[in-house]
């Protein structure tokens, strides 16, 4: 068994992904969904960097580092656009949730 810290960081990344995924489904408020997406992204990045630090060699594997750097920047761009759209939804319909999410108060 390979009980090294990096493996537990990878498991923590999976846990973060699961927490974000559940929150994405459970809440109707758009800002919460955007927060959940960011947490999911953070979990995926944690997993990638943990795998990169397990690689053999004097330095960690730089290719997953490059991917995560790209991922962080794309994630903030998507968050900015999603927030603008969410504000637009609220300006148009009056509520900060998607029109087909009926039921919940």
């Amino acid at each position: 068994m390979n009980l090294e810290p990096a493996l537990f960081y990878a498991l923590a990344g999976v846990g973060l992904f699961a927490i974000g995924l559940h929150a994405l489904f459970a809440y109707a408020h758009l800002l919460r969904k955007i927060l959940a997406l960011n947490v999911m992204g953070g979990g995926v990045f944690l997993f990638l960097i943990a795998i990169a630090s397990r690689a053999a060699g004097p330095v960690p594997d730089p290719v997953p580092h490059a991917m995560v750097l790209t991922g962080i920047v794309v994630s903030v761009c998507a968050t900015g656009l999603a927030l603008a759209l969410a504000n637009r939804v609220q300006a148009t319909t009056g509520k900060m949730q998607l029109p087909d999410e009926g039921g919940g108060a």
Binding site: N2, L7, A10, L11, V14, G15, F17, A18, L21, H22, F25, A26, Y27, A28, H29, F47, I51, A52, R54, A55, A56, G57, P58, V59, P60, D61, P62, V63, H65, A66, M67, L69, T70, I72, V73, V74, V76, C77, A78, G80, L81, L83, A84, L85, N87, R88, A91, T92, K95, M96, Q97, G104, A105
Partner: protein
Amino acid sequence: MSAPEPIADHARFTPARLVTLLLVVALAAALGWAVWSLPADSPGLTGQSLAQLPGSGVTNPVTAAVLNYRGYDTLLEIAVLLLAVLGVWSVAKAEPRADDAPASPVLTAFVRLALPVIILVAGYLLWIGSFAPGGAFQAGAVLAGGGVVLLLSGGGRAALAQEGWLRIGLVLGLAVFIAVAAGTMSVGGKLLEYPPQHAGTLILLIESAALISIALTLVALFVGGRPPGRSNRGLSEAGERKDGDES
């Protein structure tokens, strides 16, 4: 029924939500088992990356991976930055801060002290990225942080209203990157295959242009809308139609 309805979606233990929870837990268990059974030795790409480092133009393996080995990814990422600004500009208009209280004097004094240091740190991070942890993205993010704090303290709005320069700055990173890519193709190599003796210079050139674009993009995302101007009519705004558009 005059109070706005709160989106109180917490105490809803509906069956659907329970099923969702169980499914997510099952997915997490499956992923966890997959992670647990990863092989103990994973060579990764460290060996190849370090072997190619002398010809890549930089000494920091992460910068080499970002701008040389995976340069195409970075080119598309800068395009995504531009797309995000285009999307935000299509959806909303920047709101004037007319009704806000004046910025606190602590913030104003802090900005006056910190902004030159922030610019210096951004330049340092850009330069050191070739040899040590750093690079264009980190420097651009620090510069954007300085821009956000400047906007919060009330300054900088006049500079952001210079729409021509703003547009040039937003496109500059992508334009320089595409120019370098086209240049390497035109001298006979493949896309983004830098000649080894010029690789360091080309990478620094791309990073400098990208720094400006990244900082301006992140600040534009924070402003959250297109600058007000006669030529800016986005998607149909709810209710208003400006007819005084002399063109």
